[in-house]
């Protein structure tokens, strides 16, 4: 059964009606706003800066040669991955407290973006590892924890897609989301402890001794990745908000139709009498 397109009182679908010049101006049919456009512009600008600093202006590392350039994406991506998880947990807690749909939308949006950044973290980390250690994957603490975190996020997002009553779904997701940061902390600590027992060749990490142009490139990386994260979050949140509204409307519509049906059925029941 196809849902009828919601229309205004005059029968035109939302967002159309440029001819309705006499009525109120039509809201744009997208998730953009002036703020998000400014944000997007800044993000693009910082990406250009990052390409310049990261690929051109900064020197290759003494030990890693040019593969250090992958770190300018990898490290910020990992940081914002954790930021996103933090946002999801806090939003889940606030949803459980306040029960306003915005928090649920934020929790879900943040988790999805975190998953995107997890993929980037794992990908860049893996590609960095190949020329540096010779393999795409080692069971070092950071990579292993990130892999488990990715699994946690996939599970959370799977729970969010359940086909149940929206409040029940949001409640379950919120409880799971609330546990996300604690789980991340526990997993990270356990894995670190575990791997530290196996005196591996000390990883060539991005040390505090990083300086000069490389430090600048890393900072620009944080800026660019952070702006991209925020821009994505704003839009994804709005999409989640729209999904919530759309679902609510569908439910209202279904209720209206059901009542109409019931009305018709009782009418038909009365006639033979």
């Amino acid at each position: 059964m196809t849902a009828p397109t919601p229309t205004t009182a005059t029968g035109t679908p939302y967002g159309a009606g440029a001819s309705d010049a006499t009525t109120r101006p039509v809201a744009p049919v997208h998730t953009g706003s002036r703020a998000s456009r400014v944000l997007g512009g800044l993000a693009l600008g910082s990406i250009v800066l990052l390409v310049l600093y990261g690929l051109v202006w900064s020197p290759p590392d003494a030990e890693m040669a040019d593969s250090v350039r992958l770190m300018y994406i990898h490290v910020p991506a990992a940081s914002f991955l954790y930021t996103g998880c933090f946002i999801t947990t806090v939003a889940s807690a606030l949803w459980l407290r306040r029960r306003t749909p915005g928090w649920d939308a934020l929790a879900g949006a943040s988790a999805e973006i975190s998953l995107v950044f997890a993929a980037i973290t794992l990908g860049t980390g893996s590609l960095w590892g190949r020329p540096t250690w010779g393999t795409y994957w080692t069971w070092d603490a950071r990579l292993t924890s990130t892999a488990l975190l990715t699994a946690l996020l996939i599970g959370y997002l799977a729970l969010r897609r359940l086909d149940v009553d929206p409040t029940a779904r949001s409640t379950r997701a919120a409880v799971l989301g609330l546990l996300l940061v604690p789980n991340v902390i526990i997993v990270n600590r356990s894995v670190e402890w575990w791997r530290s027992l196996h005196q591996q060749s000390t990883l060539v990490k991005l040390d505090p001794t990083i300086e000069g142009q490389m430090l600048v490139a890393l900072m620009v990386g944080f800026l660019a990745v952070g702006l991209v994260f925020t821009w994505l979050l704003v839009h994804r949140f709005r999409v989640a908000w729209l999904e919530y509204q759309s679902e609510r409307l569908d439910l209202d519509l279904a209720l209206v139709e059901r009542r109409a049906e019931a009305g018709r059925a009782s009418e038909a029941g009365r006639t033979p009498a």
Partner: protein, 47 residues
Amino acid sequence: MIAMTHAGYIAAGWGGAAAIVGAYAVWVLRRGRALSRQVPPEERRWS
């Protein structure tokens, strides 16, 4: 930039990241447009 060591890995890493973010952004924006059509303007007061 052209004579970088490990150029392939760097290209794959940066390119992959750009592709993933780009594809995701496109998906979000398109989904935003599709949903906006179904939802009345009062509920999307961000512009």
